[in-house]
Symmetry: C2
Subunit: 398 residues, 2 copies
């Protein structure tokens, strides 16, 4: 959090000096931000409750728009839905100027264009989020500002968010701990006869009870590697892999834990220990100044030495408001992108998710996924409990 | 549900003959559908669980794509995220062909473009959803299919969904009844000292307990007309307006009910009765063959005759997968659009939301909103309970 920028624009919590620097590097005069996650970030956590989940309304969609002129935080404007007048009245929107005036994509963008025009002819290169800017809104913006260039600013906004503030790290901790706590509570009540749908319904309830927004749960059971919730019924002795994302005030907790309906046999204990070893080796690479790629190298080296290396998937990625974000560590993880941070130093405040999965032919899908915060000393692992085999309710004496 | 199309494309539940007709009227050779609600509709309720709420991942966003060639349901293809391979394996995706192959917007659209190219040179006019097609995906599609025109197909898709099937109506009924039931349960525990946030948290939990996805709650209390959840604390005698959307399997229940912390006095009883009268007069206009505009005219006439007509807001709109959709009844409702259905006949299976709100200077914000299904006989009102003053937990003897 940049105190100077706070003073200028009220209580905006983003580091405007850092944003100015990133925009200068990208030669951007202004930004038109339209993704929910980046708008939330630039508005210090504000997100309009009405469209928190829903997006479509009428014949168009909700499009929050934040406009920022480089080095001019006092010229920032937020354009929201008309109902956001209630929030404006309450003083909930921390920005120099807020208009609660739109219903759809083009009326919102028309107001943004008017605002940019009024900033004068110096605003020539405008950063946008191409994947989060609807095509009709972009075309309308282009027509209204026909002498300006619209440039991809995704990288600038991702970099701005790469190092989390103390407030953000608290939200990451809460999200991670609550997801693992919800998983433990769910394993406790798993019994033979339940379906994968039943288990996910229970996990959803446990996450809701912990004030998380349930995002998803990938679940595998028995010897299947299929991770979609389904009517597959659990049997005595089945292993269960839970991999769930739950968000706390926008920040995603994304971890995986294992359960078994009964007591794990020696082989299961060994298999999970093999995964645990890789997870531990990978996290030991984490410290300020180590390269992002070191996390990948450490894990891959551990996989090579593991007995079941040929059926192990290992990867790591940044996490925060988006489930895969900076630091970008590898180009062969689940979500492909240029591994920009592989040769960049890790910094305190970055958050990394590390995941190792075994696709075992007869024992099923076995996985651990952990969240690591880069600290001055090395790392911190929120939600670092229940890493062994959780045993289901089947073991409760009847 | 069109049985013929079912036989052709497996178990696709949409009426392909109706879609063909609408596309012919709009002179469209193919559709590229990218909104979650329309993809869900065309895939018979299928919606990928992983991105049910979340949309961003990595450096792009999730983009489900459904491609349909007119009169060729056997050429339909769905392009989903790679993890949707789990769903494909389970046979959950009812379409002639499904590819679980993308991570972001442009890779998904590249596959769609390849598919369209393979359909031959006859595919020249392609319908898109401009507000739900990211700008980068549209540009990529345009480049790959440079001889084709990309045309707004929003109207075609809205018309396709305007008359709900029996299965959809059951979901609308469930959504509406569950929302009202959750509101009643919430009013039961409202006591002085709770904040508006507390009440919304409770309503959210009650909706979750009824297997609804909580979408939003607009809430006003006391004599304030501000409907954002806030730290405003309830006092003895306060009125509470709840206006919440909860969705059941994608279909939105959107109703408003009133509570009071104590017993309503004679004036409050009269004010709610005044609103009730307008709501009842408006619904009496509903029958097959009546014009959409008749619902508006009946309500507006009732408002003109009401004692507090000058502080009454009355409107009506279609509802279903989207909270304001066909039938489009008025151009001066909360969401502005051309009132296409004002002079079109209502048909059985259409669903209409009718809402009347009073902004009373001293008694606060008082509102009822109801959901009406057009039936062969007239109308049906799911969730039609708790229309009077619900009294809070304050009245429970201590």
């Amino acid at each position: 959090m940049n105190v100077a920028s706070q003073e200028i624009v009220g209580h905006s919590p983003f580091d405007s000096k850092k944003l100015d620097r990133l925009m200068e590097e990208a030669d951007l005069d202004a930004l038109v931000v339209t993704s929910r996650h980046n708008v939330q970030y630039l508005l210090g956590g504000y997100r309009f409750f009405f469209f928190d989940a829903m997006e479509a309304i009428g014949v168009s969609r909700y499009l929050p728009v934040f406009v920022y002129q480089r080095e001019r935080p006092e010229n920032a404007i937020y354009i929201g839905n008309r109902m956001e007048g209630f929030e404006k009245e309450l003083g909930s929107i921390p920005v120099a100027s807020a208009k609660a005036a739109s219903w759809g994509t083009t009326d919102a963008m028309g107001l943004a264009a008017d605002h940019i025009k009024a900033l004068g002819p110096g605003v020539k290169r405008i950063g946008i989020e191409p994947s989060f800017l609807p095509s009709d809104a972009k075309e309308f913006l282009g027509e209204k500002l026909n002498s300006a260039s619209l440039v991809d600013a995704q990288f600038v906004l991702e970099r701005l968010r790469a190092i989390k503030t103390a407030v953000e790290l608290d939200l990451v901790r809460e999200a991670s701990e609550r997801v693992v706590s919800a998983m433990s509570a769910t394993f406790d009540v798993c019994v033979p006869g339940m379906s994968k749908h039943d288990i996910v319904d229970r996990l959803r309830r446990e996450e809701h009870d912990r004030d998380l927004v349930f995002e998803y749960c990938l679940i595998a059971a028995g010897n299947s590697h299929n991770r979609a919730p389904s009517n597959q019924r659990l049997q005595e002795g089945d292993v269960i892999s839970l991999d769930s994302g739950g968000n706390y005030k926008g920040y995603i907790g994304d971890l995986s834990r294992m359960g078994v309906l009964g007591q794990p046999d020696a082989e299961l204990s060994d298999l999970l220990q093999e995964i645990e070893e890789i997870q531990q080796r990978a996290r030991r690479a984490i410290r300020p100044g180590a390269l992002g790629g070191d996390i990948i190298a450490a894990g891959e080296e551990a996989v090579r030495r593991a007995p079941h290396g040929n059926v192990l998937d290992y990867t790591a990625h940044g996490i925060g408001l988006v489930s895969h974000e900076a630091p970008r560590l590898t180009d062969h993880g689940p979500v492909p992108y240029t591994p920009y941070d592989a040769d960049q130093p890790l910094k305190p405040g970055m958050v990394v998710s590390i995941e190792t999965a075994m696709l075992h032919a007869s024992r099923g899908y076995i996985k651990l996924e952990d969240t690591l915060i880069v600290t001055e000393e090395g790392w911190e692992a929120p939600g670092d409990s229940a890493r062994g085999w959780s045993t289901g309710g089947a073991m409760i004496p009847k």
